[in-house]
Symmetry: C2
Subunit: 404 residues, 2 copies
């Protein structure tokens, strides 16, 4: 295992009616900014519930509406202005990852003298931030308990991320009932996003982390088991509960413990949604099976076989958890590859079964973008990923395979 | 799932050389109390490393030595006196669960006007506590990142626990190298303790918590796989890493998410070690397989079968993770019970394979204690546990079976 520091300070309140816990954390504030998206929280009653609690506390609430999917730096600038003009003390994000990430950028930008987009070129400039709380309505990004924020700059065709411990929310309220009204497409894309986070951490060079690998597989199986149920029965409480908690645990730091993680596929996806209006989870679902195939090699086979056996239960009767590696050693190269590719195929089929598009072609993107995205990515970073380090030509080939 | 609040504020620093992180958290303090046990940390060099860092920071260090296994309230009183006499600002626990728990009781007792044992009759009296940090040397209790403290009062023949969020350590330094010198008996008892914590949370009435149940099984398998290796090869780094992190994750709150947990077996063990000098993990290893057998009933069979299939891989080829319950439904009562009891037998055999005693008789305890312990327990609590609620006669029968 690699040495690591793990900090998970966010208070999680999980379950029906947990919105009332706002009183516990907000009673010290007089003026807060509520950040929201396009208005779905007005339709499903979440906004009304939140305002009822805030109004009963006699908090003065300012509001920023209209944060888009792949939130734009323009919303962040707008939010910072409201905060500065009104001496805001706390930011309450009510929504999914985009709303939360915009809120984090506002929180950091509030104390930054210059334009907030500059923070995305150098996250070490985040020295202080307003405190943030989250009421989650879309399980996907895990942003509700971590310090990550991903923001787009459409003017510059850039999509960048920052991380700071200062951006970890003080609390996250996870009420699965708030997700009953999610459309199938968002449940599907969110589930793909959760799985993608797990893959980024799981496919790692560190093969000596049995505990975390098995815990990660547990979260994967949860998503694979319950996402189809939530899509078929949007008000199935058990499925909504499991997906909501899975999204949080998938990216709160725990499953990166002691590991060098990858994140190449996220970097590749960010280039795609910087130039096209592609839902993050959709882009990831298209990219990930191709990334898995491209990165396969004999020396990496063990990780794929673990994934195949422990998640998809392929040939599980041949293995046992005590002597897994010994059984693996006895397989031929061809047998290993066959098991690995069966698992990759199952992964792709799973995304398809959720109703997600399975190529960039089906999104009407021009194939010439493969070269443009690869070039854009390499302009900023010299390479992508760690499990297999990808350079411009590798990246272009993965993009190209996404048009097949 | 049950509604829940999860708070995991402790900063975890994991890996070789992490003792240097003391500087990050202690630079604001001038006077600290170092709490330690019988002196093993002097033999294995841990004390020297810790003092080197503290001395380089010019912190004035007071020391409390001699905290026993099953720490006594007498040590706590002594620690509080040192803290009061010397204006201590921070407590650094260097050791295993006993040292940590004593430190927590000192931290709470420092601000309590009356005798600290009274806190153990009413934990709501913990209103404030000194901050605590931990350098862990024995993976077992999980006390390094939670708010629990278990302390004995030998004079009164009582062993009681308290919980408060105020007692959660600010940081926990987990250096697996510090556990290389642990004797086999402590590695074995510590591993039994970790498994017992997992059982207490896993065997729950809440059958709708797929994610947490599978994560819990992952930690169980880690202990079952790596404890025998650590016992055979005390300096096997991978095994020491896995056990150390397993002990922390087994009881940091995560695996209780959304569950009514049991804790009957811990209550039963506390009575045993209140009257006899029995290592906590040893008592638990004797009690748990008997508790499992006693609590088995047809309506609880599903939980046992999950445990059997997912942990011990009994009949795993008949099951799959998507349709587990449907496969279970097709089994006869006899088949279910047979699978369950095979898993219980494997559990007992596993503890025995670690070199742990397998009955109270082998510890030379008089069988008449079954009645005394059951009576003592029921005097304080009306019953024990939730998975199956146990009353005096049930408890006596479980104790009696531990002499067989």
């Amino acid at each position: 295992m690699e040495n690591f520091h793990l900090s998970m300070p966010t208070n999680i309140y999980f379950g029906h009616g947990m919105v009332k816990k706002l009183t516990k954390h907000l009673n010290q504030y007089k003026r807060i900014l509520l950040v929201a998206g396009g208005g779905s929280i007005k339709k499903n009653g979440v906004y009304e519930q939140v305002r009822a609690v805030l109004d009963s506390m006699q908090i003065k609430v300012f509001e920023l509406w209209g944060v888009q999917p792949n939130p734009d730096i323009e919303s962040v600038r707008e939010g910072i202005k409201i905060c500065k003009d009104n001496d805001i003390e706390f930011i309450l994000a009510v929504g999914g990852g985009s709303v939360i990430d915009a809120s984090k950028a506002i929180a950091a930008g509030f104390y930054f003298k210059d334009d907030p987009w500059l923070l995305f070129y150098d996250e070490t400039k985040v020295k202080k931030a307003l405190p943030i709380g989250v009421i989650l309505t879309l399980p996907a990004t895990g942003s509700e308990t971590n310090g990550n924020a991903v923001v787009s700059n459409r003017e510059k065709q850039e999509k960048l991320s920052i991380h700071s411990d200062l951006l970890k929310p003080v609390f996250a309220i996870l009420d699965p009932y708030y997700t009953f009204s999610l459309p199938q497409s968002q449940t599907a894309a969110g589930s793909a996003d959760i799985l993608a986070h797990l893959f980024e951490q799981y496919f790692s060079k560190n093969l000596d982390n049995y505990l975390i690998d098995r815990m990660t597989e547990a979260v994967m199986k949860t998503v694979i088991k319950y996402a189809p149920i939530a899509i078929k029965e949007p008000e199935n409480l058990a499925a909504r509960e499991q997906l909501m908690y899975a999204s949080t645990l998938a990216l709160n730091g725990l499953l990166s413990s002691g590991k060098v993680t990858d994140w190449a596929t996220h970097a590749l996806e960010h280039e795609v949604s910087a130039t096209h209006d592609v839902t993050h989870g959709v882009g990831l679902a298209i990219l990930f099976p191709r990334w898995m195939k491209y990165c396969y090699s004999d020396d990496k086979a063990i990780k794929y076989v673990e994934y195949a056996v422990n998640v998809w239960e392929i040939k599980k009767e041949d293995f046992n958890f005590i002597d897994f590696n010994q059984v693996f050693e006895k397989l031929s190269k061809e047998e290993r590859k066959s098991i690995a590719f069966e698992a990759i195929e199952k992964t792709a089929q799973f995304f398809k079964s959720l109703g997600l598009p399975d190529s960039f072609r089906s999104l009407n993107i021009d194939p010439s973008y493969s070269k443009i995205w690869a070039s854009n990515l390499i302009k900023r970073d010299k390479s992508a990923g760690n499990f297999k380090v990808l350079y411009e030509e590798d990246i272009k080939q993965i993009y190209e395979s996404c048009f097949e």
